[in-house]
């Protein structure tokens, strides 16, 4: 059994003038214990909403969230609070998520207080242990968030997220705001902790080179749907969906000559009014007639021997 299993999960937001924004549409995926699943896509593709929905920070409009076999969608606040010990999150901007009026020690220890774990002394011990775990000095607990750099603040956010020994961590653009030289420190830290604690991570990022580095599998999202999912190597070396291909070729890599690229025309369509058929057909360089009217299903391509799935008519056997 997978640690997390999403079945046909959908999330909608109210849009302007009574319109409905379909932020996440019919997403099904699973994460094994100790697995890192990378979710990549451009702004507005629904990747952050997906992360927030599975934590029930945003309510789903349909589908199931099975965590350890239990469906989270029906749980009340009390039941959800107990589950949250196992489900934690870190965000992009560590300053926005750390209360500036509280000491770092208080911030890291607060989850223990909220869940009534241990007494004051054991909570202090745990905070010291967590500071050490994320590479912060013991005296950091007495200081305040503004005294720390961006990278150190992200370490604080990670320490807090790990306070309750969660099973699953949602990392939403956790390294995106950091400088290049700091980004690799935090990527290394997350990777070390993931192995040491056998964490499952849903790693959300717009940066495919970061996703490639940390993930066992990758899911590519476009306009609320997964368009391709598979093992990291397969996605990077043999991308199938034209959108994955475009995303890969758009990343400028230092020292690599600008290749003959697939430069996509236009931008993401309006999510309140997504295109008919395949949502990508308005920008797809390989668009066919069928793409305008029939939405392709996410499935293993005909004749494929690998585990990857793709939602694209190019790979279906249409007689």
């Amino acid at each position: 059994m997978s640690l997390l299993e999403l079945n046909h999960l959908s999330t909608t937001y109210p849009g302007a003038k009574g319109a409905v924004v379909q932020a996440v549409s019919d997403v099904s995926l699973d994460i094994e214990a100790g697995e890192v699943l990378g979710v990549v896509g451009e702004s507005g593709c629904g990747k952050s909403t997906l992360g927030r929905t599975l934590l029930r920070l945003v309510e789903p409009s349909g589908g199931q969230i099975l965590f350890d076999g239990k469906d989270l969608t029906g749980l009340d606040r009390h039941q959800m609070k107990a589950i949250r010990r196992d489900l934690q999150v870190i965000f992009q901007d560590p300053f926005g998520s750390l209360n500036p009026r509280h000491s770092v020690g208080y911030i890291i220890g607060e989850p223990l207080v909220v869940h009534g774990i241990g007494d004051g002394a054991s909570q202090n011990d745990r905070v010291r242990e967590l500071l050490d775990l994320v590479g912060l000095p013991p005296d950091a607990g007495r200081r305040y968030p503004h005294e720390f750099s961006g990278g150190q603040r992200q370490r604080i956010a990670i320490a807090r997220a790990l306070a309750l020994d969660p099973k699953l961590l949602v990392a939403d653009e956790a390294v995106s705001a950091l400088d290049v030289s700091i980004q690799s420190q935090i990527i290394n830290l997350i990777a070390q902790l993931q192995k040491r604690l056998n964490l499952s991570i849903l790693f959300i990022s717009h940066d495919l080179s970061v996703i490639r580095h940390v993930s066992d599998r990758i899911a590519v999202m476009y306009l609320g749907r997964i368009v391709e999912i598979g093992p990291t190597e397969a996605i990077m070396n043999e991308p199938r969906h034209p959108y994955t291909l475009a995303l890969l070729s758009a990343i400028p890599r230092p020292g690599v000559a600008r290749q003959k690229r697939v430069v996509l025309q236009g931008e993401l369509p309006d999510p309140t009014n997504p295109p008919m058929g395949c949502a990508f057909h308005t920008r797809c360089p390989k668009v066919m007639d069928i793409c305008h009217s029939v939405r392709p299903v996410l499935e293993r391509p005909a004749g494929s021997t690998t585990a990857g799935q793709v939602a694209c008519h190019l790979y279906r056997d249409h007689q």
Partner: protein, 318 residues
Amino acid sequence: MPDPALLSIKDLHISVGSRPVIEGVSFDIAAGEMLGLVGESGCGKSVTALSIMRLLAEPPMHIDRGEINFDGADVLKLDDRALEALRGEQVAMIFQEPMTSLNPVFTVGDQIAEVVTLHRDVSQEAAMARALELLGRVGIPTPETALIRYPHQMSGGQRQRVMIAMALACDPKLLVADEPTTALDVTVQAQILDLLDDLRRETGMAVLLITHDLGVVSQYCDRVAVMYGGRIVEQAAADELFARPRHRYTEALLRTIPASNIPGTELPAIPGTVPPPGQRPSGCTFHPRCHAMVDACPQTMPELVGDAHLIRCWDPAA
């Protein structure tokens, strides 16, 4: 350098109050050239860019010494009237977040036309016609419709195209682009960078591209200057710099990015953090984080030396 420099900055020093931010920056840009100024936050790349158009908030910032020569003019000695003529007409600038540079209550057409009438003695109709032409030039799909739209009705990529159209209004000789694609998605980033590249090749406009993204400079710039701690630490042709990085900072930076590493392996991280202005260490600013420090490094700041490939390092990589 074969071409005479369009812009030449020499030994520029800038402080905020008593804290030095820029500590001796020199570089040239020739007409039609794209120079990348790359570095992490706090290295002084944006302050350098703003100083070219004398857009620094003075006070608290002040230019302590140095020279900025643009097309024969000594920018630091220009009076307000001459600066007005320089800004927008000779040198134009685009920023990371186009929404904050656009006025939300005026249409896109009005805002572009305003730039035209500010610098050129033309009628409103002629200015609007120019705005329409520029919107087409920067690849806005239906320029006629875009003219009467407001900034909030456009996507981030389109707003950046509008900013570029405004920057091009008076055919500037130099475009300063400060993180122009950082807020955009990668597929849109590629469109905008391709546009800038086409424009400078067609018009001979020089571009100073300021970015933290090594991949972007590598693929679009002719030459690259790497900044750290308020100074240029390495400068070379882009191909040369990325093939043979010699300053230990550049070398470490290129090694640490995920794209240079095998997935799942530990990244060769650079320890410590970028020192903020006012807390820069003695000697070479990078020495506390350097993997190849020698005795001289904590003592004395090395000079930027070399012919075509300039390096400021006591013990550069071979």
